[in-house]
Symmetry: C2
Subunit: 418 residues, 2 copies
């Protein structure tokens, strides 16, 4: 009947028992007559263990060789899952990224998928076989093993669904869908039955860990029907999860605010008292980009007496490196009175497609935080989200009060109209 | 100067520190101007861990998928070693079996090498690069991952040396050469500077764990100059190890007996009271071969009153299966009074090229064992070895007294002339 791509993350395949459970779940769908491509991650903890070995040998391991090492994690899982499927009497076959021929560019550790050869997989599917594919990995034109970077298995799943024209791409994870906020912080948080592509994109990029951002972008580009589900539901009693929709006309029926996202993996750097002249942003961020450090939020304050202050956030793991790069360039590329860094920050975002047509949401957000005495350090907005940087210690409080302020606990309505 | 293939086993690469040491050793040879191909095994314990995961999922895991899982062990090591080499400032590049294109047949878990594409490796060597290749694995004509079976990394090393026409294939292990007996059992055991190919073959097949039998066969076929060395010697103070020679005319100068080998991984099965008629051996062993069980020693005693007893040994891991196969066939393929199995046996062999021209060695062996009250259960001989099966509990004693009886502790002479 339907052609379904299912992706199971590291927690879902984190032990032999869990792999056996995934096999039962796959078997259940197969019995219903679906044609199945199953994409898997490395067993939970395995990628970190492998990268840890490499980092014991070199502070900056060679990226090509790092990929050779890291790609083995998923290869183990495809073999084990296929063994489990065969033990259930099903016909199944595993493929590494290289064996499918998931062609990527040569940007080791963060390669991008260029093309997928679907001929072999199609042959197996036509023969009634379940196809098990290693996520996170591919091969470049020269035959080198590549990996897509963290969370890349989601992207593999979506890319395979796009290439095969699958009816649905199901991302199985340890939560049963996309929530209005992290339920560990906001117990009243509610699962969303559906969410628009744009909202999902903002939630993913704003630190909601459910789906990896590039996979959402990929899904949007090829209009892949994407669903987030729990791999811990009883087999046969699978919840509906959260469906990512593309129908623009549904937007009006959707809640104004769909959720609160947060991210505590960032650090803030402020360059104080730089000359307020054209080109200063490039003078500061150019060397950062050259050092391959991703910048997230950028804020430039209005200057006084010909000087201005310039702030941006980076991934916390690259915070020290970013500061070093700036110290090295200060006095050469740009003059600055002071460099200030802070890694005890958190970013909190309110996301909702309804923002497009509803004003006053920002001020409600700011008032809610002010009422709790939470100082806002940076603000950044897009059409459908408002993100603020605050002191890390207020993170949970901020998420909870915003969730309440926008009445996200109420079923059917994301937030009251302003 | 020379083109050398070095192979490092699981113990030699068993930890990050040991991998770092292997890198230093490789660097030392590289500085001397040698061109190097380095073949590595999985880190010690890793293959067992991976196979254990698979066996938790199925008693008889699918062989193709077992290879997919097992091959990751060596892939991790090639990446890590290459990272360590680059950290030392050397140019190096890793290859999986598939990336080299080590073409094998499709006999998963015990594939045989058919061909090696040396073009890419040659290009790297010409560019001054150290090439690091995953042992134990290859790829079949359909692109499936294959493995060569236990100890297959030795075979990979020798096969690469043959394909590249290397000047020497060095097998690094946790001992500093081939000994007249296992030094853990016989403290007086002595390292042999050289040993003939035929003796090495008998020692390897008789259970000396230094070299894997197929690698020795392969070396003989292509006349690869093979040397066994320790990877635990100080870098720069490498011992000479043991060289495997092919010069027939040296045989006369060699010791008569080169060593005592043993194997406790076997089990004995006796089929008692079978009709003494043509075809009975095939009737018994045919089903065993069909079940893919390797048989080692075979002995048929002289029968009385039209009946005979038939005994053979199998790998201890296949003992139960072999008994089941025979029980199923008994009464159909052959009649038998009784099936008797014993897995508490050991095989002890005396090996030496001098046996060809010296008589009385067998009787000296039998007398030595008799003097200690050790009963011989089975005997099998070849041109250059005598193997006996005894009760496992006498194994260490037997090896020690035989070592002494043949005066193997004396330097320069393997055994006194009889």
């Amino acid at each position: 009947m339907a052609l379904i791509v299912q992706k199971y993350g590291g927690t879902s395949v984190g032990s032999v028992d869990r792999i056996r459970n995934v096999a039962k779940r796959v078997a259940h769908f197969h019995r219903q007559g679906h044609r199945l491509v199953v994409v898997v991650s490395a067993m939970a903890g395995e990628t970190n263990r492998l990268l840890g070995l490499a980092r014991e040998l070199a502070a900056q391991p060679d990226p090509r060789e790092l990929d050779v090492v890291a790609a083995t994690g998923e290869q183990v899982t495809i073999g084990l899952l296929t063994i489990a499927l065969k033990e259930l009497g099903l016909d199944a076959k595993s493929y590494t990224g290289a064996q499918v021929r998931i062609l990527t560019d040569s940007a080791h550790t963060k390669a991008r998928i260029l093309d997928i050869d679907q001929a072999k997989l199609r042959g197996d599917l036509d023969a009634g076989r379940i196809v098990v594919v290693a996520g996170f990995q591919g091969i470049d034109a020269e035959g080198n093993v590549t990996t897509l970077g963290r969370g890349g298995s989601d992207t593999s799943g979506v890319a395979l669904a796009a290439a095969l024209g699958a009816d649905e791409c199901q991302i199985y994870t340890d939560v049963d869908g996309v929530y209005t906020a992290d339920p560990r912080i906001v117990p009243e948080a509610r699962r969303l039955d559906r969410i628009t592509f744009e909202e999902m994109l903002e939630l993913a990029s704003q630190g909601s860990k459910v789906l990896q951002i590039r996979s959402v972008e990929f899904a949007g580009k090829y209009m892949v029907r994407l669903r987030v589900l729990s791999s811990f539901d009883e087999v046969g009693a699978q919840g509906p999860g959260t469906l990512i929709t593309y129908e623009e006309d549904q937007a009006m029926e959707e809640a104004i605010i769909s959720g609160i996202a947060f991210n505590r993996d960032e650090a803030k750097i402020s360059v104080m008292g730089v000359p307020d002249r054209p080109g200063i942003a490039y003078a500061i961020l150019g060397p950062i980009a050259e050092a391959n450090i991703d910048v997230d939020m950028i804020v430039q304050n209005i200057g006084a007496s010909g000087h201005t202050d310039f702030s941006f956030t980076v991934n916390r793991g690259e915070y020290r490196k970013a500061l070093e790069v700036l110290e090295a360039q200060r006095g050469k590329q740009f003059e600055a009175r002071e460099l200030i860094g802070d890694h005890r920050i958190a970013k909190v975002s309110v996301v909702g497609i309804g923002m497009r047509s509803h004003v006053g949401l920002a001020s409600r957000m700011f008032k809610t935080l002010a009422d709790e005495g939470i100082n806002i350090q940076m603000i950044s907005t897009s059409e459908i989200k408002i993100a603020v940087v605050i002191d890390e210690k207020y993170l949970e409080l901020a998420v909870r009060v915003l969730h309440k302020a926008f009445e996200l606990e109420k079923d059917g309505s994301g937030a009251t109209q302003v």
